[in-house]
Subunit: 193 residues, 2 copies
Amino acid sequence: MSVPPLCEAFVLHFGEMGSRWGINRTVGQIYAVLFIAERPLCADDIVDRLNISRSNVSMGLKELQSWNLLRQRSVPGDRREFFHTPDDIYAIVRTLVDERKKREIDPTLSVLRELLMRSPESESERHAQGRMREMHDLIELLTGWYAEVQKLETERLIQLLSLGSRIVKVLDMKDRLFALPGGKRNAQPEKGT
Amino acid sequence: MSVPPLCEAFVLHFGEMGSRWGINRTVGQIYAVLFIAERPLCADDIVDRLNISRSNVSMGLKELQSWNLLRQRSVPGDRREFFHTPDDIYAIVRTLVDERKKREIDPTLSVLRELLMRSPESESERHAQGRMREMHDLIELLTGWYAEVQKLETERLIQLLSLGSRIVKVLDMKDRLFALPGGKRNAQPEKGT
DNA sequence: CTGAATTTTCAGACATTTCTGAAAATACAA
DNA sequence: TTGTATTTTCAGAAATGTCTGAAAATTCAG
């Protein structure tokens, strides 16, 4: 591998983690190289940096593209394609989570929906269906929340994230505001509880 | 496979999804069987239901235990161990997310921390380190938020999740309360914080 | 202790995934 | 069009992962 030591450590780590992330070593390394590159890279740049075959790079790039993780740029007068990752790391994470949800959660949700439509034909099927419903409802709650949060601008998201569990205090405050004696929606803070 | 049709469909799906979830087919199926079972099962019960070898079940159970996904119960006068999944599906998801974080995120965070301590020895290393810092800071923000939320009781968590993006309205309200004319921190509900 | 019931380990068979080089396809300048 | 640069495809080699049966280990009643 022909990259500076610091970069090499990063790239190797991404390669090793690849398998845990459901992509393979090479794909992880290609992504890492692109992520830290100072400029968009063409396929041969990646071959040089990682010492892997050209065809492997081609397949790896295809894979990353199927995850919507790459942008490409073509230089006038140059026939090659240059690849880079988005600058905005928040956007990257949004994409990543979206894609994982699409591959790892949505199919299950749709199978569960289908199975919940069927009529159980025994006590054990009835029980199983109960468990499936619990799973279904929780996944819906989580993905519904995610869909909502996904709509927020980065600014708002950071605000929310920074709040952490202190969000509970805000929720409490809201509850108190809305739960005053003498009717709802009376914004006098002090009285209630 | 000797389970009712509805259960079979569920189990087969979990098997197929297994590879996307970073576990193998058999382990996915074993989990599925335990998840929908009406009572704790012993290893041989699983062999019967899935038609796989006893040793495979043994390894699969070990794997699931390493994920903290199983509870076991021993019946007096019976030498066998019986396995089951927790009843509380929220607890299951908490465990799942914890374990995935531990395996998929924490190692990266620690590598990033280490790499950010090093001194860059070239312009390209400096740039790479900048990207690593962005990644590091975002992961810290996300995992920090997660750690906070993990502390909430299920009740609170559901409240928060149900709110979805309407949380923003609550945040706005909070901002307005704290940003009234006449100095900061004046419109708080209770005086002493 | 012995011996039966049960679980675990592990070498090798089998299956799947990843990687390569060579060939085919594509894109485009001249 | 031809020729060259570049990308993609794909068959098979290499590597990795999964599964099984047999043997070893463990557990516990008697």
